[in-house]
């Protein structure tokens, strides 16, 4: 009997190791979600959640370099607010953040997640645990059991990637701490300010409330953040800022700080230099936004400066790698 248990145990371990290599990854960022588990326990003071707007706008190494704040961007492409809620739950099992910055691009989305790809980016990286089980049960209610199986056991879906493995499947840039490092510059222009207000969808509000409650219960300061966006191609404006205006009122009522960068020009973004495409900042823009965040925290919710503390050497090491990367690629921020 003991042999059977050992056998299954070793089997699970092997499966996990192989799966880490085989699951889908992208090149220029750390594995969005599962690099989180590489950070030392209970040492992250600032946790950032959200979509690509989160990991393109905030660079944890800048927060460390300028302020000594320990942070991690627990973001993923097209991460919806409900996904962020469960990620926060999962994070609280490993960390005790004092501040949570929630990037709110997907406040316009009424469904629980944008697409299977965006959901899988989250679930594939999460470890099997209470939060993940709750999340899958909540989100996959109407799914056929065989498709559900590929969420509980993503191995069966990705095993065929063995033929497509690249070097970044084996070595990934964990020192990016969930942030991005892209330095491409695409000239953009400032969009006109939004004038109307759109009603916030029920699902998004419901899960935002859950996040708020969770933060209150754990003595965490919640801060909402909306990243700047440039004018879309062919002069097509998007209407997402109309949701932000409504959110501004909502946040005001609930007394939740809301860093509406674009409207209030908080970070001094240069639209001709700081964007990599029409909706995402590059590393130059991220530096400015991160600095803005750092200053905001210093003035309103000051955190401990951990530079020099051996318990936080992980961030120091990441910062060294980050600086080396900047020098190697001749990026001067």
């Amino acid at each position: 009997m003991l042999i059977v248990i050992c056998f299954i145990g070793i089997g699970v371990f092997l499966h996990n190791q192989i799966f880490r290599v085989i699951r889908v990854k992208t090149r220029k960022t750390a594995n969005y979600i599962d690099s989180f588990y590489e950070v030392p326990r209970d040492k992250t003071d600032i946790l950032i959640l959200g979509s690509s707007h989160a990991f393109c706008s905030i660079q944890p190494n800048e927060l460390w370099g300028d302020y000594g704040y320990s942070s991690y961007v627990f973001g993923s492409p097209a991460q919806s607010i409900p996904c962020s809620y469960y990620l926060l739950k999962e994070a609280l099992a490993h960390q005790k953040p004092k501040v949570v910055v929630l990037e709110v691009l997907y406040i316009w989305l009424d469904s629980l997640y944008l697409s299977s790809g965006s959901l899988r980016h989250v679930t594939d990286g999460m470890r099997m645990g209470k939060a993940k089980l709750e999340m899958l049960q909540d989100f996959l209610k109407n799914m056929d059991w065989k498709e559900k199986a590929s969420y509980y056991l993503p191995f069966i879906k990705y095993h065929s990637r063995w033929n497509d493995l690249k070097s970044y499947d084996f070595h990934w840039n964990r020192w990016l701490l969930g942030g991005s490092s892209v330095s491409t510059i695409k000239k953009q222009s400032h969009p006109p300010a939004a004038k109307t207000k759109s009603e916030l969808p029920a699902n998004a509000v419901q899960y935002l409330e859950k996040i708020t409650r969770l933060c209150e219960e754990n003595d965490i300061q919640l801060i909402l953040f909306a990243a700047p966006q440039a004018l879309a191609k062919k002069n097509k404006t998007n209407n997402i800022p109309t949701f932000f205006l409504t959110l501004e009122d909502y946040a005001g009522e609930k007394e939740i700080p809301f860093l509406f960068e674009q409207k209030n020009e908080l970070a001094g973004i240069d639209y001709t230099h700081d964007f990599r495409d029409s909706t995402h900042l590059n590393i130059y823009g991220a530096k400015k936004v991160t600095q803005m965040l750092g200053e905001y925290l210093k003035d309103n919710y000051p955190q401990v400066d951990h530079r020099g503390d051996p318990g936080y050497s992980y961030w120091e090491k990441c910062y060294q790698s980050y600086m080396e990367y900047l020098v190697k690629n001749k990026i001067s921020l």
């Binding site: 089997g11 790809g117 069966i156 879906k157 065929s160 990637r161 909706t279």
Partner: protein, 497 residues
């Protein structure tokens, strides 16, 4: 449900768990229910068909047994023969209607057309009930065995029904005999850890054969055969050789999984494949390939026809009847019949040329038992068998086209450098996996040929070694196998909205 499906991987452990918990007395009833459920996953209505065959043959057993008690000898024999005839006729009629009706009707129409008569055939859309060829033969063997007094007539209908429908071997064999399986149904099977491990290991090997080898080989064979008019002789030859292994792995895998699954539950099914491609003659091949079917034909067709007891010519005739029937059993199409016919001809020719071949060997001072001579014979046998596989895989017209190209009778380039092995359906990574797989297959079969059962040897080794082998095989299948929903990179390539 297919063996290589998520359904079966849930079904089987669940069945085993319950099976070993419930009392012995009711186990056969539970297995009967599970077997019918297993069958009905394909088509619930056709389970009635299987039930019908079961009832007919069950009754035949009882009636034959009853007739045997008749004091009048003539009546006794007459009645017994009648019941056998009725059982065979009715079951074969069912088989004919559901499997061969379309084939027979089409043939009739074509023959009539050649004679200038136009026949309109009724439009019956008959779906082939899964496994009908297998369970019908299995049920008929019981009738014959009762007649021959080789088995008692089973009075318990449910036990008999389980014999006909036992799910591990229901849809793809081995075709069992009542003397083996029915007897075991009446025995107790306490849980045995070692027996379970042996069974699971055999199943694992079967999954390797199916999920990795057979699937990869299918990719090549299907690609090449489906575009045979644009292929060189070399490519077709390679694909034909690979097909021999595809069908071996595909069919052999089902047998291995069936035997393994049955063993876990305590049943020993008969062996169905015994290193077939090591055979030194076509006759030898047929003692190693689909053994349960060959022996069925031997016992219930060849021997009743007279076997080899009525002279040499009659023996060849009987052999031809058996193999043409076997061809027909495999599929309701003329190219299957021709395949069977070829295999029969090979053996007839083989037996006629035996004295000449022996004389040549003596003249050249060849030791017939030497390794090199047996390798030669095996290669020659493989070539003949593989040639006949062309008619198994392709329709008659396609087969002729393929043969023309392979034997360079069409004037096209037989071999072209550089691009020759590309576009055969798989890439380099997969070819490497295939090579490793062939290595495993060769090792297992070569050892078996020498009489070494690799399973038993592995089980005797130290625990670290056993774990290593099992994990290696298991993850080999899980990583490189063809299964699962697959993943589409485009699902992930996006960044913004």
């Amino acid at each position: 449900m297919l063996f290589n499906s998520l359904d079966f991987l849930v079904f089987f452990p669940a069945v085993c768990l319950v099976y070993f918990i419930i009392p012995h007395k009711v186990r056969y009833l539970f297995l009967l229910v599970c077997s019918y459920y297993f069958y009905m996953c394909w088509n619930p209505v056709y389970a009635l068909l299987m039930l019908t065959s079961t009832i007919i043959t069950y009754l035949s057993g009882l009636l034959i047994d009853q007739a045997d008690k008749n004091p009048d000898e003539k009546k006794r024999i007459g009645r017994k023969k009648l019941y056998v005839a009725l059982s065979f006729f009715s079951n074969l009629a069912i088989l004919f209607f559901f499997k061969y009706f379309d084939f027979a009707a089409d043939t009739l129409v074509r023959v009539a057309a050649m004679a200038g008569i136009t026949l309109r055939r009724p439009a019956f859309d008959v779906i082939l009930p899964v496994g009908i060829s297998f369970y019908t033969f299995q049920a008929l063997s019981y009738t014959m065995d009762v007649y021959r007094k080789e088995i008692y007539a089973e009075k318990n209908f449910f036990k008999y029904a389980l014999f006909v429908s036992f799910f591990p071997q229901l849809v793809a064999g081995p075709i069992e005999r009542s003397k083996n399986l029915l007897i075991q149904i009446n025995k107790k099977h306490p849980f045995d850890f070692d027996r379970m491990r042996s069974g699971l290991l055999q199943m694992l090997y079967g999954y390797f054969q199916k999920v990795v080898m057979s699937e990869y080989l299918a990719m090549v064979v299907d690609t090449v055969y489906d575009s045979y008019t644009e292929r060189t002789g070399f490519q077709l030859a390679v694909a034909t050789v690979l097909f021999a292994f595809q069908i071996y792995c595909d069919f052999g895998s089902y047998s291995n999984i069936a035997i393994g699954a049955a063993r876990v539950m305590g049943f020993e099914l008969m062996e169905n494949f015994n290193t077939p491609y090591f055979a030194v003659s076509v006759a030898d091949f047929w003692r190693r390939w689909h053994i349960s079917l060959s022996t069925w034909f031997r016992d219930y067709l060849y021997i009743p026809l007279g076997g080899n007891r009525k002279g040499k010519l009659r023996k060849q005739f009987n052999l031809m009847v058996v193999f043409v029937t076997s061809g027909l059993w495999h599929g309701a199409s003329w190219h299957f019949v021709f395949w069977g016919f070829l295999n029969g001809i090979y053996q007839v020719a083989g037996s006629w040329t035996l004295p000449i071949r022996k004389k040549i060997s003596a003249f050249l001072h060849i030791d017939e038992n030497s390794f090199s001579h047996r390798v030669l014979r095996a290669l020659v046998t493989f070539s003949f068998i593989d040639f006949s596989w062309i008619f198994f895989r392709a329709s008659f017209r396609q087969a002729l086209g393929i043969i023309r190209t392979i034997f360079h009778l069409d004037g096209k380039y037989w071999f072209t450098w550089g691009t020759n092995l590309k576009d055969m359906g798989i890439g380099t990574g997969q070819i490497n996996i295939l090579i490793v797989s062939f290595g495993i297959l060769l090792l297992v079969d070569a050892l078996k040929y020498k009489g070494i059962d690799l399973k038993t040897w592995i089980m005797k080794q130290g625990i670290w070694f056993r774990f290593l082998i099992i994990y290696a095989l298991l993850f080999f299948i899980l990583i490189f196998g063809v299964y699962g929903p697959g993943y589409d990179a485009s699902e992930f390539i996006y960044f913004q909205f």
